[in-house]
């Protein structure tokens, strides 16, 4: 694998009450790659993910993320060119500004808001109008609202659910809510999308469509996708490279075929041979 690095995790460790949830994990994900992180239940997949997005503060290690200058500038940082930043220690709500967006295992949409408004939540950081401007509906606030509304419709159309834009999110089928969450991440024009078990709760044909959607998103938005997943069909079907972990430790890294053939991975999933 070649290309520029998108995310580099170095010697990441975190423990909860003496239990090492992630133990000295290092891995590199390249630009525009669809990368899978797999492991049996309790392997620490979601913990890795939470350490990357700073929901947890890792005990040791770094998470380097490559940000383009234009984006840094847009959010008020001074930067000469593309820059690599260490995410560790940054407040959770600032992470999205660098172009790193996540979804949630149990979809987190606001049931009281419409589908469109839920997608607009993803554009939160792009609004520049001050509170006073919003309260008085001054021109800038109105213009921004209109502009991002159109953008949200575009994203919904891209994912094929624009006809539901005006419907309340509460009461929509699970598959639609997952798509809404995906649309919300796209509003932020992500560099890296982290999907937390996107196939959980989907049926076979929905999972099939999801794989298609993930590829489509990568091609259209030119972003990197990190998938934390249980569903082997999805991972093997869509990922270009996969990293397997077990008990918080690195197990194997390779193409889907290599991972499937790896005896260590088989052992972790099915138990030691001969047992």
């Amino acid at each position: 694998m070649s290309g520029t690095e998108a995310l580099r995790i170095e010697h990441l460790s975190i423990s909860f009450g003496g239990l090492k949830a992630v133990d000295d994990l290092s891995l590199t994900i390249y630009d525009r790659e669809i990368f899978g992180l797999i492991g049996p239940n309790g392997a620490g997949k979601t913990t890795v993910f939470n350490c990357v997005t700073q929901f947890y503060r890792p005990d040791t290690g770094n998470v380097h993320f490559r940000v383009d200058a234009e984006r840094l500038h847009r959010h008020g940082h001074k930067a000469a060119g593309a820059e690599e930043i260490d995410l560790v220690g940054r407040p959770v709500h600032t992470i999205i500004r660098y172009g790193l967006v996540r979804t949630f295992q149990n979809v987190e949409v606001v049931p009281e808001l419409s589908v469109l408004d839920n997608v607009l939540v993803g554009g939160h950081i792009d609004f520049k109008a001050t509170m006073a401007e919003q309260m008085l509906r001054l021109p800038r606030a109105r213009r921004e609202e209109k502009e991002y509304r159109a953008k949200a419709h575009e994203v919904l159309a891209f994912l094929g659910i624009d006809h539901l834009a005006g419907r309340p999110a509460g009461g929509q089928p699970y598959g639609v809510l997952k798509t809404v969450e995906m649309a919300r991440t796209l509003m932020a024009e992500p560099r890296l999308i982290i999907l937390d078990e996107p196939a959980a709760g989907l049926n076979d044909s929905e999972t099939e469509n999801l794989a298609e959607t993930i590829r489509k998103i990568r091609d259209r938005y030119g972003c990197t996708v990190l998938l934390v997943e249980h569903d082997m069909r999805l991972v093997m079907g869509v990922c270009e490279r996969i990293c397997a972990i077990s008990f918080g430790k690195f197990l194997a890294l390779g193409t889907p075929a290599e991972i499937q053939a790896n005896p260590l991975v088989q052992e972790a999933y099915l138990g030691a041979p001969g047992e």
Binding site: P91, Q134, E144
Partner: protein, 355 residues
């Protein structure tokens, strides 16, 4: 599937939106608030014509004033999911500040109004910063303490509040016009209509969505870049600003203020107005204020046996809160939706299929 999607990408934004905007013109919310305010302005005329009793006009004025405070609490409780038990304290502070600046210092209506807005808000921000950093529930506790401290202050600091004997004031002069009871009612109606419009703007834009996201899931809101502490503070400071404004209007309308008004009962009553009216409903809040404040005053106290029981309003709001939470969790607004909802849904379905 793929074919269908590509077509969707190429399709422009739905063209029926422009047409829908036109059709919705009578439903324009700003127009609704303005018409509501204008309709209220007729009431003083009815009073001077003798159709409406002067005491009834006063009761309705207090409904408008409490609606303003309740609107702030609705933003806090309904959107941010936070609770304040100190609305009365901030209202009282607004009232005494207005009296002090207008009558004791003599700076006039506008400066008095500004003081009643800014100083309680500033105090609110400090209370919010201290308590919200820890956990949301501490805001309720901290605001209750501050409100009780303010209440003691109102009783003790006589140069500022007149102590338990009360503070007397006068109808203000606005734009060179000496107001009266009737014109102060109009001022309250205009203020309420403006507050409704401002609240509408707050909840229907980026801020409102951020508050929604935060209430629904703080974790998800953070992942979307919402600075949760900042938005909690914003909601609370808007609520205190509205409370300060309501306090000032209360003073200007009644021309006096007594510490006993600004106790915990009022704070709880404001919460009752929001819950009974319906969370996240602007007109519902006004309806809630009417039910909680005006119904005991205009109806219950005049009933033969019930009216003689002391503390009828207390019992009334208590029982109502329990009933609403048990049977109508969406309050009066939910009740209206129950009736109007099916009609509106049928109409919008027709629009969708007809387009």
């Amino acid at each position: 599937m793929t074919e269908l999607d590509t077509r969707a990408v190429d399709a422009p934004a739905p063209p029926r939106r422009a047409a829908a905007t036109l059709r919705n013109m009578p439903r324009n919310p700003y127009l609704q608030y303005a018409l509501f305010g204008a309709a209220l302005c007729v009431l003083p005329l009815l009073a001077s014509a003798g159709v409406l009793k002067a005491s009834t006009l006063s009761t309705l004025a207090f409904v408008l004033i409490f609606s303003i405070a309740a609107m702030g609490l609705n933003l806090l409780l309904g959107y941010a999911g936070l609770i304040s038990l100190g609305t009365a304290g901030f209202m009282g502070l607004g009232a005494y500040l207005a009296a002090y600046v207008q009558d004791d210092i003599g700076l006039g209506f506008w400066v008095a109004l500004l003081a009643a807005l800014v100083i309680p808000t500033f105090l609110g921000i400090i209370v919010g910063i201290v308590s919200l950093r820890v956990r949301s529930i501490y805001l309720a506790i901290a605001s209750l303490f501050v409100s009780e401290i303010l209440l003691k202050t109102f009783e003790q600091v006589e140069w500022f509040t007149g102590g338990t004997a009360g503070k007397q004031s006068a109808y203000p002069v606005i734009f060179g016009i000496q107001t009266t009871r009737g014109s102060m009612f109009v001022v309250c109606a205009v203020a309420l209509a403006l507050v409704m419009m401002l609240t509408h703007n707050v909840v229907h834009g980026q801020m409102g969505r951020a508050l929604h996201a935060m209430r629904s899931s703080e974790v998800a809101a953070k992942a979307m870049g919402v600075n949760v502490l900042k938005y909690k503070l914003v909601a609370f400071s808007v609520a205190t600003a509205y409370a300060g404004l309501a306090g000032a209007l209360y003073l200007f309308f009644l021309k006096s203020s007594y510490p006993s008004t600004w106790g915990l009962f009022l704070s709880l009553n404001v919460i009752a107005m929001v819950v009974v009216g319906g969370l996240r409903s602007i007109f519902g809040t006004v309806a809630g204020a009417f039910v909680i404040f005006a119904v005991p005053e205009l109806v219950l106290k005049k009933l033969p046996v019930i009216g003689d029981i002391s503390g009828v309003p207390y019992i009334f709001s208590g029982v109502l809160i329990v009933l609403v939470i048990m049977f109508f969790p969406h309050g009066l607004k939910g009740l209206v939706d129950l009736v109007v909802g099916p009609i509106r849904r049928a109409r919008s379905n027709k629009e969708v299929t007809g387009a």
